[in-house]
């Protein structure tokens, strides 16, 4: 095979690509900008998440209510605004506050009784922004922690608690409970009273004891293939955006073939003694090179600026990147083969790319999809590309983890190429 025409066609396509400022910006700068944004909002474990905005409305004013409010305000996971009910409601409505907690009148007394003696439990009213479901769940947990602490501290050491213990002791005498059991309860309550009297603050303020607290703390450890491999959200974001924009670049290359037809340029190509295989092979080669450049420039930026690392196999990374680029180039050829006009081909191709990247996990990881959708997305080539790049970057896996994505991407390339070849319009009038 004469390589002169092949290299000439590839070089020409690269020159055309680089001479088009818009193409260069779209292929190199836009994915970097979008991936940087996605990476920053997805965040990483190395950074504290933004506190949840919550409002507290204290309609009770009891010692327990004040302690609950103070406990929540001291929690770093939330940013608290104390206000009246109407103002809190307005803030939730405007989206300034995700959840407002209303502590109703009588909460302190009834919660104490509910802890010791059962009975009706008081309600904490939550005014929630319906679009902030995950935050509301977290706020429930935070409230549970601080409510238990506030109520038990007061009940075991505060004035309210002492009054309730005295009252319960009196009731034991008239309860008709068996004498042995009544004695045991009396002993327990008296012991609790004596214990907390030693630690309570003088003057009948809030109980000085610690109250109940969470009986455990949590230590999280990121589990990746190797020690010291930290998750970096930018790795996924740049993989996803890089793949999206290399598909866009290949789409443009396919459109360029349509335009070459319209402008009669394809006639010149076909009039030369060049085989169809060489013509299409050159297009695939130039498309793959441009795609690979797009991906490598994106990752290069991510490595330099956001400390993304190929923590796994470098060879695996290159294999997946090359296979993904070839798949993308054959997709561009498919656009050229199936497209009729520039406008219609561009519209359909962009729709196809957006569907592929959306379902392939390029925007958000596929693990947040429903299980049935996760199973279905194995037919999307982007899914394999993203998973393959994730595996060898932040997961730190070896070459073997890149083999299946590489083979699958090449299989997609073969299918795209075969369909393009069978549907390509060769005759020029």
């Amino acid at each position: 095979m004469d390589l002169v025409p092949v290299t000439a066609m590839v070089r020409k396509d690269l020159r055309l690509f680089l001479s088009d400022r818009r193409s260069v910006i779209v292929s190199f700068i836009v994915p970097i900008a979008i991936a940087s944004f996605f990476g920053s909002i997805i965040g990483s474990n190395n950074r504290e998440p933004a506190p949840i905005a919550i409002g507290i409305v204290d309609e009770d004013g009891s010692t327990i209510a004040k302690a609950l409010s103070a406990g929540v305000q001291g929690d770093k996971r939330v940013a608290v605004t104390v206000s009246g009910r109407d103002e809190a409601k307005s803030q939730v409505r405007q989206g300034k506050v995700n959840v407002a907690v209303v502590i109703p009148a009588g909460f302190g007394e009834r919660s104490g009784r509910a802890l010791f003696a059962g009975g009706a439990k008081p309600e904490l009213e939550l005014l929630v922004d319906p679009s902030r479901g995950p935050e509301v769940a977290l706020v429930r947990g935070i409230l549970t922690e601080h409510a238990m602490e506030a109520v038990t501290r007061e009940m075991f050491g505060g004035r309210t608690g002492r009054q309730l213990i005295d009252e319960t002791l009196r009731q034991v005498d008239v309860s008709g409970m068996p004498a042995a059991q009544a004695q045991l309860l009396r002993d327990m309550l008296a012991s609790v009273r004596r214990f907390y009297e030693g630690t309570s603050q003088p003057g009948g303020g809030p109980g000085g004891g610690p109250g109940f607290s969470m009986p455990y703390t949590v230590r999280e450890e990121a589990v990746t293939a190797r020690d010291l491999v930290a998750y970096n959200a930018y790795a996924h974001a740049f993989a996803g955006m890089g793949i999206q924009f290399l598909l866009f670049a290949s789409t443009n290359l396919g459109i360029a073939v349509l335009l070459e037809r319209q402008r009669g340029l394809w006639k010149r190509l076909r009039s030369a003694p060049i085989s169809r295989r060489v013509l299409l092979g050159s297009k695939i080669a130039s498309g793959a090179i441009i795609s690979l450049l797009t991906l490598l420039v994106s990752f290069g930026f991510a490595m330099a600026v956001f400390r993304v690392r190929i923590s796994g196999s470098v060879a695996g990374f290159l294999l997946v990147a090359v296979a993904c680029s070839i798949m993308s180039a054959t997709f561009g050829l498919l656009v050229a083969a199936l497209g009729k006009t520039e406008g219609s081909a561009r519209g359909v191709a962009i729709l196809a790319v957006l569907l592929m990247v959306m379902l392939g996990g390029a925007w958000v990881p596929t693990f947040i999809f429903p299980a049935w959708l996760q199973r279905m997305t194995v037919v999307i080539p982007v899914r394999w590309a993203v998973d393959g790049l994730d595996a060898v970057t932040w997961r730190g896996l070896g070459l073997s983890s890149a083999m299946m994505p590489t083979i699958t991407l090449l299989a997609f390339a073969a299918v795209f190429g075969a369909v393009a070849l069978s549907r390509f319009k060769w005759e020029e009038v």
Partner: protein, 257 residues
């Protein structure tokens, strides 16, 4: 040099070219004259290998032309009707690319580019982007792109469409020079004055069929005015017979219909 025998091509139920046969000798220009849709471009496309004829054959130097990679395609240069150039690239880069398609490289490519640019008078604009060229300059560069590999046969498909008179004259001069160099030129047009000025032979095509293949004088001799020895219908004297009259006589309708 170039010979077509019984070419036929149909697109669905429409027969674009039917039993077209004629030849072009070295150092001559054959004009293929016919109205739009007559089958001129389809004929050129079959000769250039852009489409395969349903029937018939194209021979170059006696050898049948068939297949995408037939080396005989190197003996053909195509100047398509469209301005088939990359506006985004400089003229030289365009010519480097089209030359490389025919296997040219290095010094040979450089010499071919220089020679082609000299012929069309664009050497001083070689470094400029084609997008900055006028329509006439683009047409001349379009011609140069078909000449790079020094073909024996040049297929020119309406190469002066949309060109100003000055550039058209320059293109005619270029073609005359190529003819002097012994090239076989096939020139399609629906401009009668171009055929009259340039052609050694004229092939008239209408509705996909060759209805005349003769010299200009031979075609004139077929008209009633010529038979009447310089007098038109009604006996009025005429200064000369035009190809318009010839076409009307042969087909019964105007070339511009």
């Amino acid at each position: 040099m170039l010979e077509m025998r019984g070419l036929r091509k149909a697109f669905g139920s429409t027969v674009a070219v039917d039993d077209v046969s004629f030849g072009v000798q070295a150092g001559t220009l054959v004009a293929v004259l016919g109205p739009n849709g007559a089958g001129k471009t389809t004929t050129v496309s079959m000769i250039a290998g852009l489409i395969a004829p349903d029937r018939g054959e194209v021979r170059i130097g006696g050898a049948k032309l068939a297949g995408d990679t037939n080396p005989a395609k190197r003996r053909i240069g195509l100047v398509p009707q469209d301005i088939a150039l990359y506006d985004e690239l400089p003229a030289r880069a365009n010519l480097e690319f089209f030359g490389a398609l025919f296997g040219l490289r290095g010094d040979a490519l450089g010499r071919a580019i220089g020679s082609a640019l000299d012929l069309v008078g664009l050497r001083d604009r070689a470094g400029d982007r084609v997008g900055t060229f006028s329509g006439g300059m683009k047409r001349r560069l379009n011609l140069a792109a078909g000449l790079l590999h020094d073909p024996d046969i040049l297929l020119l498909d309406e190469p002066t469409v949309g060109v100003d008179p000055q550039s058209r004259h320059a293109i005619f001069e270029n073609l005359a020079e190529l003819k002097r160099r012994g090239k076989a030129l096939l020139y399609t047009t629906h401009y009668m004055e171009e055929a009259e000025r340039l052609a050694d032979r004229i092939v008239v095509i209408d509705r996909g069929r060759v209805i005349a293949d003769d010299t200009l004088e031979g075609l004139y001799a077929r008209t009633p005015a010529a038979v009447g020895q310089g007098r038109g219908a009604g006996g009025a004297p005429v200064s000369h017979v035009s190809l318009e009259t010839v076409f009307l006589t042969l087909t019964g309708r105007s070339l511009r219909d």
